[in-house]
C-alpha cells in the first residue's frame, strides 16, 4: 500500500517508524492502518536477499590495536571479519551509514574512549557486536580496521544508500 501522506517508513532493530503529514491524515487514521498491517504482514515471496560485496583493504589505523586488545594477530582479525555474511539492521547516524552484525564474538570491543573528530569516508570499522562503513567524513568512535573505495552513499542513486535494512553484506579482502 502506498499513501501520499506517508513520507517515510524506517525500520530499525526493534521498531518501525512511520512518518506522515498530519495536515493530510490524522494520527488516529495512521495508527489504525498500522495496527491492522501489523497483524497481516505482506510476505515478500522473493526470499533471495540482496547480497552486497564490499572490497576492503585491511590497513586501518586501529588494526594493530584491535589485535592487541582481542589477543589475536592482525591476520586473525582480518580473517574473522571477512569470513561472515552480515545482516544489515538499520541505516542512520549519517546518510548511508548502515549497522551490520553480528561480529565474531572474539572481535567485540567497546568503542574508543576518545572518539575521532574526523573519520575518513570509506573507513571500515567495528564496535560492540557491530561493523559498518563510514560513508562520509564524520566524527566517530569505532575502531578503524580497513577501507573501501565503494561509495556507501550517492545522492544521484535511488535509493542513495548502498546498503539498506534487510540486505546481506560480505566484506571481500583486497590488496591496496
Amino acid at each position: 500500500m502506498r499513501l501520499v501522506a506517508v513520507t517515510d517508513v524506517v525500520p530499525a532493530y526493534t521498531t518501525l517508524a512511520v512518518y506522515f503529514d498530519s495536515r493530510v491524515v490524522s494520527f488516529a487514521a495512521i495508527s489504525s492502518l498500522v495496527a491492522n498491517a501489523i497483524g497481516v504482514p505482506e510476505v515478500d515471496t522473493d526470499d533471495s536477499q540482496t547480497l552486497i560485496e564490499i572490497p576492503v583493504s585491511y590497513d586501518g589505523p586501529d588494526l594493530a590495536d584491535v589485535a592487541t586488545r582481542t589477543g589475536l594477530t592482525p591476520e586473525e582479525v582480518i580473517q574473522r571479519h571477512c569470513s561472515r555474511t552480515y545482516r544489515a539492521y538499520m541505516t542512520g547516524f549519517a546518510p548511508g551509514f548502515t549497522y551490520l552484525g553480528d561480529l565474531d564474538e572474539s572481535l567485540v570491543l567497546p568503542r574508543r574512549t576518545e572518539p575521532r573528530v574526523r573519520v575518513p569516508a570509506g573507513s571500515v570499522a567495528i564496535a560492540g557486536a557491530q561493523t559498518a562503513v563510514y560513508p562520509l567524513v564524520t566524527p566517530g568512535g569505532w575502531h578503524l580496521i580497513g577501507a573501501t573505495s565503494v561509495a556507501m552513499f550517492d545522492s544521484r542513486r535511488n535509493p542513495p544508500a548502498l546498503i539498506r535494512a534487510g540486505d546481506s553484506v560480505r566484506f571481500v579482502r583486497v590488496e591496496k
Partner: protein, 287 residues
C-alpha cells in the same frame, strides 16, 4: 482613467471589506471588516499590498469578474474551484492577469468566504476611516451595498506596503512554553524527572547547530539503560543522554538515535523553537 474590475456575474452575496472600522463604537458603529482576517492579511502580503488594502469578500455561490487592466491578483479564504479564462488556477499565490481576463469562481467547496484581492486593493471611498461595507448603515464599500452584476470596481494605485501584518509564530512574537507530546521513552522518566523537565527554564547552549540544540540548565535522569537499541527519531525529539543534558534533534540531525526521548516538540511549535539563539531561555509544557 484608473484600472477597473467589472463584475460579470455576481454571487448572491459579495461585499468590499478591509480590516474594519474602529473608533466609532461609541456611536454604535460596528467594526465590520473581513470576517476571515488571517486570510485577508495573507493575500495582501502575497501581493505586497498594505495590510489594510480592501478586497472582495465573496460568499454563497459562483460567479465571475473581468479585469479591465493588466495586473496581479490572489485568491484565498474558503476553498473554491477557480479558473482564469477557463484554466484552473491556485489560491494563495500571485496570479498574473491580462486586460480582459476573466476570473471565475466555479463553486465554494469548503468554508464560507472566498477572498479576492488585486494588487493595489479595491479603491472605494473611505468612510469613517475604512472601506469596509456596512450594509445595515448603507456605508462603505461600493455605495454601501452588495456587489451586483455589472458593477465596476476601481483598483487602487499600487503603493509599496509599509506593513503587512504577517507574524509567523516564532519567538519574536510568542511567549510561553514550547508545547511537547510525550516521547517514546516517556515512561522511563519518573515523576521527579518529569517535574524537573516541566518546571525548569533551559538555556540554549552555544553547542547548538542545524543538527541539534543542546539545552543547559537542570539535568534530567531516568531509570532506563544509558543507551537503547537505536531507533528512528524525528525533528523535535528531545533526547536525554547520559549526562542528563537535553538535546533536541534539528533538521540536519541523525535519522536514528539510541538515547531515551522524553518528549517531542509539537510541529506547530517547531519554527518558534528553531528561532531560539544561544543564550535564549525556553520552557516546556505538555498539552
Amino acid at each position: 482613467m484608473s484600472d477597473v474590475i467589472t463584475v460579470i456575474t455576481s454571487p448572491p452575496f459579495a461585499t468590499i471589506q478591509d480590516l474594519g472600522r474602529t473608533g466609532f463604537r461609541d456611536s454604535g458603529v460596528p467594526v465590520s471588516g473581513l470576517a476571515d482576517r488571517e486570510s485577508g492579511l495573507m493575500l495582501n502580503a502575497i501581493l505586497g499590498n498594505d495590510a489594510n488594502a480592501a478586497m472582495i469578500e465573496w460568499a454563497v455561490g459562483g460567479g465571475s469578474l473581468r479585469f479591465d487592466c493588466a495586473t496581479t491578483i490572489a485568491v484565498g479564504g474558503a476553498d473554491a474551484i477557480i479558473s482564469v479564462n477557463g484554466a484552473a488556477v491556485y489560491p494563495w499565490a500571485p496570479i498574473v492577469v491580462a486586460d480582459g481576463d476573466e476570473l471565475r469562481i466555479e463553486r465554494i467547496v469548503r468554508g464560507r468566504f472566498v477572498l479576492i484581492q488585486v494588487r493595489g486593493g479595491i479603491d472605494v471611498p473611505v468612510v469613517l476611516g475604512s472601506r469596509s461595507t456596512l450594509l445595515s448603515a448603507g456605508i462603505g464599500g461600493l455605495e454601501g451595498r452588495r456587489l451586483r452584476t455589472g458593477d465596476r470596481l476601481p483598483v487602487g494605485d499600487y503603493v509599496m506596503a509599509t506593513r503587512n501584518g504577517i507574524k509567523p509564530a516564532h519567538h519574536l512574537n510568542v511567549d510561553g512554553p514550547v508545547m511537547v507530546v510525550r516521547g517514546p521513552q516517556a515512561s522511563l522518566f519518573d515523576d521527579a524527572a518529569w517535574a524537573t523537565f516541566l518546571s525548569s527554564e533551559f538555556v540554549v547552549s552555544r553547542a547548538s547547530d542545524r543538527s541539534g540544540y543542546r539545552l543547559d540548565g537542570m539535568t534530567i535522569s531516568h531509570s532506563g539503560p544509558a543507551a537503547l537499541p537505536s531507533e528512528p527519531a524525528c525533528v523535535g525529539a528531545i533526547q536525554i543522554p547520559d549526562g542528563g543534558t537535553p538535546i533536541v534533534i534539528m533538521p540536519d540531525g541523525p535519522t536514528v538515535g539510541g538515547y531515551p526521548k522524553i518528549a517531542v516538540i509539537r510541529t506547530s511549535c517547531m519554527s518558534r523553537f528553531a528561532q531560539l539563539t544561544p543564550g535564549d531561555r525556553v520552557r516546556f509544557a505538555v498539552d
